[in-house]
Each structure stands twice: as structure tokens, then as C-alpha cells.
């Protein structure tokens, strides 16, 4: 399983995906800047994407994996939707900034109990 000698397998990608995912989660949980939270979301989506590509890759699995072309297709959809999500999130952030003069998400607590 050493990637330097053995062929790279799915699990290697899964590890990378997991790290990206976790980093994204931490980013979302730690950043007070709305744009930082947004970046965390991008990281999370990217981590998921890595998994999709890995599952569908013809290289990483000798048997082409059960997802075959579905993997990249879903990854594509994720990318596209991430772009859409980023646009909307940016718009929301700007709106928030217009109304509150800050991008600190901790200040967006008007709906607290």
C-alpha cells in the first residue's frame, strides 16, 4: 500500500478526501469571517469530490469500480453546483455586509432563541 511502490488505490484518495473534508469542517467551525466559512464549504465539497472521482476512476481500481462514469459525472455536478452556491453565498454575504457593516458571522445571530 505504499504509494511509492504500489499502484495508488482508492483508499489513498479517500484519505486525502477525508483530510480535505475535515479541514473544511474545521474551517466552517472556526472562521468568523463569512468568506472563511464559504471557503470551508468549498473545501468540504472538494473533499467529497475527491471521493467521487476515486470511486469512478478507471485507474485506481482494477475493476473500474461500480461507479464507472457516474463518479466523474457526479463530481462535475458538484463542481457546477459549488460554483452556483458560491455565487449565492457571496451575494448573501454582500447583503449581510450591506446591512450589518461586517462580515462576522457571529454577529448574524438575530434568530437566536
Amino acid at each position: 500500500m505504499n504509494p511509492l511502490v504500489d499502484p495508488v488505490g482508492v483508499v489513498h484518495y479517500l484519505v486525502v478526501g477525508a483530510v480535505l473534508f475535515t479541514a473544511g469542517i474545521v474551517c466552517m467551525a472556526v472562521k468568523r469571517n463569512a468568506l472563511g466559512v464559504l471557503m470551508g464549504i468549498e473545501l468540504v465539497l472538494n473533499g467529497a469530490n475527491v471521493n467521487f472521482v476515486a470511486f469512478g476512476s478507471p485507474v485506481l481500481r482494477a475493476d473500474a469500480g461500480p461507479l464507472a462514469i457516474d463518479g466523474p459525472v457526479i463530481a462535475l455536478f458538484v463542481i457546477v453546483l459549488a460554483a452556483a452556491e458560491a455565487a449565492v453565498a457571496l451575494a448573501i454575504t454582500l447583503n449581510f455586509y450591506n446591512n450589518h457593516s461586517t462580515v462576522d458571522v457571529d454577529r448574524a445571530d438575530e434568530l437566536k432563541g
Binding site: D6, F21, L35, E42, V50, L60, A91
Partner: protein, 252 residues
């Protein structure tokens, strides 16, 4: 080899140290034990991209300055695109570069600039929050890694792409066909026969049988994008503000 017993302590140390383990451990044993001729270049590039992606992702977490965060994110996403290329998903990789890194992040940076006021460039987070998030994230990472290693089929090594510099199947054509509803990668015998007869040029009726294509999701995503475009433009639209003079006149 990555012994799963190491996962326990590693998860306690948080994502950074684990990443260090993955990268450092892998390289160390690779170079120490493997003769140079046996080095798997595909794997080496994988390691390089993976390390960049992970380190930069962690750097995003650790950075305070929002523009630097964006910069690290670009590097992370770019390295991920490299991973996609290595996995044979060239089209996805190119798309990742184009849309994600190119489009999304420019948008982000735009946002950063619009809000790049001195007080907001770096908003500090309480240390307690960081520690708490680190612990929770470590447990999440542990769970994810456990899941990744738990399925035997995923642990099987992949194929050597050969000594051909990584020439793999072109994926864009079947991908494009799948997006318009034709699954060329999935031959079902009945379908081919059905298509052969009847139709004049056989262009119709290919969507039936076997795995379905992605025409419908593709269309939905198209419409979704349009809606998002309109919605985003609406949310961030120009707003009319009445000047104080108008307001005072209205009050009178």
C-alpha cells in the same frame, strides 16, 4: 503500510499532525526502503499533489488573513485538480481548474476586496473555539478514515498506468454523451438490437434500457444555474436608497 492502530493517537493530535504522518511517513519509508528504479512515478506525483492539497487545506484553517486563506484555497483546489488528472478524470480536473479555481475563487477574491476593510481582513477566533473544533474534527477524521479503511475492495491497489506516461482512456466523450442521456460506457445487448432496426438513422430512442444517462439532472442543473444567477443578481442588486432630503420631504 498504514497500520490502523496508529489512528487512535493520531486523531487526538488533530488534523495537522495526521497529515504530517500521511505525508512524512509515506515519503520516509518510500525513500528509505525502495530502490530508485522501482519508484512509482504515478504514486510520487500523487503524493506530491496530495501533500500540497492537504497542507494547503490545513493552511486555510490556520490562516487569519482572508486573502491568504483564498490563496491557500486556490493551491489546495489546484492540487486536487492534479489529483483528478492522476485519477484519469482529466475532464473533471480541467473543469475543476476552470470553474472552481478560476471562477469561484475570483468571485471570492472579489468579495474579499469589497469587504477588505482593515478590521475584517482578519477576525480572530477564541482559542477555546479552536481547541473544541480541533477535537471534534479529529474525531470526525477518525471516523472517516475508519470508514475508508473498512471496505476491503477500496484497499486493493489500483493498476499501474503503465510506462506510458499515464495514457488513460479518454473520458470526455462518454462523459459528454452521458450528460445528454446516452450511456456509451454501458452496453446492454438488448438496447443495441433495438436501435439497429426501426429507426432511419438510429439517433432516437437510445435512452432506454441499461443505466440511464444524465439528461434530466443536466437540464435541472442548467435551470438551477439560471435560477442561481438570477437569485444572486437579485440578492446583490442595486438598491435604491432615498436620500435624507427625500425622506424629510416625505415626512413633511
Amino acid at each position: 503500510m498504514m497500520p490502523s492502530t496508529l489512528l487512535g493517537p493520531a486523531s487526538l493530535l488533530g488534523p495537522t499532525s495526521l497529515l504530517g504522518f500521511v505525508a512524512g511517513g509515506g515519503t520516509a519509508c518510500g525513500f528509505a526502503m525502495v530502490p530508485l528504479a522501482a519508484v512509482n512515478w504515478h504514486g510520487l506525483f500523487f503524493l506530491a499533489f496530495a501533500v500540497v492539497a492537504c497542507v494547503m487545506a490545513v493552511a486555510v484553517v490556520l490562516a487569519d488573513n482572508v486573502v491568504r486563506m483564498a490563496f491557500y484555497l486556490v493551491l489546495s483546489l489546484g492540487a486536487t485538480a492534479g489529483l483528478f488528472f492522476l485519477a484519469g478524470a482529466e475532464f473533471v480536473g480541467a473543469m475543476q481548474l476552470m470553474i472552481y479555481v478560476g471562477g469561484t475563487l475570483v468571485l471570492l477574491v472579489f468579495g474579499v476586496m469589497l469587504t477588505a476593510q482593515a478590521p475584517f481582513v482578519s477576525i480572530k477566533t477564541a482559542t477555546g473555539d479552536r481547541v473544541l473544533a480541533g477535537i471534534v474534527a479529529a474525531s470526525l477524521l477518525a471516523v472517516l478514515l475508519q470508514a475508508a479503511f473498512s471496505v476491503h475492495a477500496w484497499r486493493e491497489p489500483g493498476r499501474f498506468p503503465g510506462d506510458t506516461g499515464g495514457v488513460v482512456e479518454p473520458m470526455s466523450t462518454p462523459l459528454g454523451m452521458a450528460l445528454v442521456g446516452v450511456r456509451v460506457d454501458d452496453p446492454s445487448p438488448g438496447l443495441a438490437q433495438e436501435n439497429g432496426g426501426g429507426n432511419g438513422d438510429g439517433s432516437g430512442g437510445a435512452a432506454a434500457g441499461g443505466r440511464s444517462g444524465y439528461l434530466l439532472p443536466f437540464e435541472i442543473v442548467s435551470v438551477h444555474l439560471l435560477v442561481v444567477l438570477v437569485g444572486a443578481a437579485y440578492l446583490a442588486r442595486a438598491k435604491r436608497r432615498r436620500s435624507s432630503r427625500e425622506l424629510s420631504e416625505a415626512a413633511r
